[in-house]
Symmetry: D3
Subunit: 243 residues, 6 copies
């Protein structure tokens, strides 16, 4: 089997995290998984959703969008259609859950951090790139809160990253690009913390059902992939601290 990109089955695409791409946001990065580029920004708001008021705890939420021509064929703009698709809502709910898993809400205090993940260019894996980059933007926003004296220490309890895996021509491969994703038998997304805890698993048989053994092979690839992403996140944070 050869992957269209020529990558080995366990190879990530070239991944980059470029922080501080927004003049306005409290935290921001452009995350690139090959040709998939997602702009992640973190916004701190000094109020929480109504149902959390006076709870003493904060909240982290996420929104996701794709620019109309981020894809090969232009998609209609969701703002023009007047609603977000089921896919969009599913992804932004996933990003939010993933990021909340590594935040101590009491330590964050009664404020909300909103993560916006906007896909500038898509080539598969936009949700995993969003989680991976969204974490960096979130971390930066918490550092910002420390810097301005609003927090004594970071409410972030661990790092978190995400990667997709799939069965492509029957072979387990890591980090599907669009062409692989379109024809994969099985597609799975994994969200894993820096400490190796699993936060979310989503595996879907696109054609034939898969076996437990196949699934374990995908999980194994994902653990390795998230470990590499964790290293890149760490390097980014260290560079930011050194700056």
């Amino acid at each position: 089997m050869t992957r269209p990109s020529g990558r080995t089955p366990d190879a990530l695409r070239v991944v980059e995290i470029i922080p501080n791409v927004s003049k306005h946001a409290e935290g921001s990065c452009m995350v690139k998984f090959g040709d998939t580029h997602v702009l992640c920004t973190a916004t701190v708001e000094e109020k929480v959703p109504g149902w959390m008021k006076n709870s003493g705890a904060g909240w982290v939420t996420a929104e996701y969008g794709m620019l109309p021509r981020s894809t090969s064929s232009r998609m209609d703009r969701e703002a023009a259609k007047g609603k977000q698709s089921g896919r969009t809502q599913e992804i932004q709910r996933l990003i939010g859950r993933a990021l909340r898993a590594v935040v101590d809400m009491k330590a964050l205090g009664e404020r909300q951090v909103r993560i916006d993940c906007d896909v500038i260019q898509a080539d598969g894996g936009t949700r995993t790139a969003s989680i991976t980059g969204g974490y960096v933007a979130l971390w930066m926003a918490c550092e910002h809160l420390i810097r301005i004296g609003a927090l004594k220490q970071s409410p972030i309890t661990d790092s978190v990253a995400a990667i997709s895996c799939g069965l492509y021509n029957g072979v387990p491969v890591l980090d599907l690009d669009y062409i692989e994703d379109s024809s994969a038998d099985t597609d799975a997304n994994f969200v894993i913390t820096g400490n190796g805890g699993i936060v979310e698993i989503q595996g879907t048989a696109e054609k034939d059902p898969f076996t437990e053994d196949q699934f374990m092979a995908l999980l194994s690839l994902a653990k390795q992939g998230c470990n590499d992403l964790k290293a890149l996140q760490l390097a980014t944070k260290q560079a930011l601290k050194a700056a």
Copy 2:
């Protein structure tokens, strides 16, 4: 550890599938997982979505809804709010994918079967009940097509069922009811075919991340639970054939 319901960790709730509950639908059943009651109907339409026209293949799709007072506190009616929630869309997309996994679309021919899953009463596990009952309604609609001469043989290639599992007070348990679901550390849904193939896995850490071993324990429970559901589906189909 004791489950609130007194069940053992590997015990399903009492599950019932009552077929033919609708005068109008081509297939229908009321599926009960304990106090969770879902009305599943199948509607055959002799046309397919625009993007499938002249493909020679059919389609299966699903919609999901909850009656406003199916829940402990009344929920606002989605029709009145003017849109379906992200959760609703996520669930109906899952049901559709699960059912399509066991249908040969070419054999179905250029027609669509729409599965409606309406929650009459909710007590946890509505999506897994919907898939399990939706399969029966779908199978009935295909039998109907054979009976009226529209099909020679059923396009259904396997059965499919779904069950939730979770870590409740740290213990892997099968088929969470609402009270367990609300406080579970981890919640996972599994969609498994009659032949034991996995169609969908969704695992989410609600509090702390989970480990691979914990996840394997949940998968093991799910396989057993889906096996029991498969037996009930089979008995229902046999009774219908005998009638």
Copy 3:
């Protein structure tokens, strides 16, 4: 003239009121007018709409919906279409007005009872079944308020029921089913209290206009029909009190 169902002109369909069909609602019943089945639930909310605040009075409101395949041909889900039809709104406004006519709002106190009428299966007369069953659910919710000590006595001042009549092949008939309703010349709905007061009359000529005499014949049938429904409501309440 023979009615398609073989009923005599002044015969109701078999009517049943099955109370306590919901685990969660403060009052509930499944009301059946032949093959028309409507699930009615009552929800008590300890707040009133904004415009009634501090009025010292309560409110009763109703919502109505049809499951997509409650009908012979599947209807699109209103939640998916993003709005309720004019017909839906017209019916739920009627149900609300009918029920409010037998409630002393001051005696109810500053709380709201919401009646949800969801059509599980439709065969004509869903709005009249909804009012007839909605009354029982409302009464049960008030009894619940007495039972938990929130009210000393019931704010219900009378019973209320509703029935349709029509000119079918020129003959006045009671309680139209779908096949009659589709071809009736005139269709009328009557809402009448236990004491015989008229709360609402809606008569519509579907083809030729009708005369005053014809209308009086319909009203006469309706009074008799509502009297029978009142007896069934009473029996249901007595059985519940005895339980």
Copy 4:
């Protein structure tokens, strides 16, 4: 009893029908029931709704709206709110049914007449004024079709008018204005053809239920009122024919 306006119980307000108020419409009039002013226009479209295509028959439909400051307190604009209220939809459905009752759809041919009723100023009775004036606009549009040679003879089979009645301080009165309408015990609308046939009856108890005798008194007033409106419609048509 004295009516706020000083009218006797059986007195209509001053009613005027001013035809040809629109430069563009195929038929138009401003109808005034006292301070209630409704602009009615008729638009002929040479196509019918999709479900009527190739039926050989035409259709008549109506839409209703209120200008934001047609009322004592400004109402929000429905276009700005993004949906029509239940009341609006109920009224425009009523107007359409009323007008269709006096049109031979086969004779109209496969075309649609749309009646727009826009309330310029409201003081009670906007729906009855809309029907009464809408009929004139519809008749004018049919005359227009004859004039341009599209029709040989008018498809209008009768005239139709509408009036409200109510129990005001217990007394049956004709043609309620806003102040009466707001405090009436019972409010009823009647749609009656020139030949005296009844097309629609809607009676609602706003406070206490009403009796059959009370209802008959309202119907009697309505017949007289519609007779007067019929005379005015006739005079308007004769003046137009003479012009």
Copy 5:
């Protein structure tokens, strides 16, 4: 060159302002620019938008709508379509800005005046008629506030009017009617105060770009036209004061 209407290039249509056309509004007029008729009403609300609370200042806002058959071909009702068009929003934003330019918001006090401009009949220039008539309604509402003692003196600082100009067959002409507007090369709208200050300029090349000289010719016409409108506004106000 001859204008379709026979007017000279610098001639306005016959312009009329008929005040006090609404029983309910605090200020109102029907403004007519030839066959373009716009009903303008002013509503005083004793509260301001949320973002202005406790600012001590008031606000003026405008809404715009067209009756469905105000135009040559019937337009769909925006309330039925569920949203206002871009054109509608653009026009109502323009009207609001134009009117706010001549109001001292501090002097108005913490209240809002809403101007509704509803096009009864359209023949080009509806937005300029709306501004010209909207000013009169606004002025009347302020006089009303003085009359009831809510204000000591008018917060209106100047008058404001608007007119369109365009290049029709290459010739600069004033006050385009619909037939001119449809084929004009360039269309421009000018909002000018009584003191001759310019509040808004909007010039658009519909076909070929225009030159600075052409634009200056349009501006020159507009100044003259607004001067005439100012005189008419003044006469209307004097008549009202005299009454």
Copy 6:
């Protein structure tokens, strides 16, 4: 007077046009006016809107959006709110008109080019940057059509650019940034072709009305600014042709 940025009154910000920033679009660039960054993409569709079918002519249209955190305070996502604001619609209509002014629609043939302008970072002047960059994306898409043989020659008849001007502390200045825009007395946008023709003028008095002389000063600045933008557009096109 000193501008906050230290620029002289007639100085543009640093303007950059970076072409080919999208892997998928037929034409694309990132245009930067200082800290205002807009991603412009052009999409070619081989079909036209319904009302243009069989006209033999093409169409150019534009959509505009802002990323939620492109601004200093986060804005709600229009897709989540379910509609585009009046401002958004106004801007995208302006961009479309501006670009259509330099395209020969017959020469384009029956196809549509859609320009998407998405604001990645905002600091004033997003609509003028969108037009200036949108032109380059449009030009690239036409070159693409020539390259693939769909067109023999470009349908572009001229270049077009846009710039804002305003009165800042009473002084006419070119290319307002956000801080200037927020406090300018008058704000005007000019769209001017390469040949110096004016396509659109929009001038708005934010506080006091402006005079004709002031307006002429703004127009003079705009002509110079658009000339500079034209040179940059030309250089970009030449570099692309050379590549």
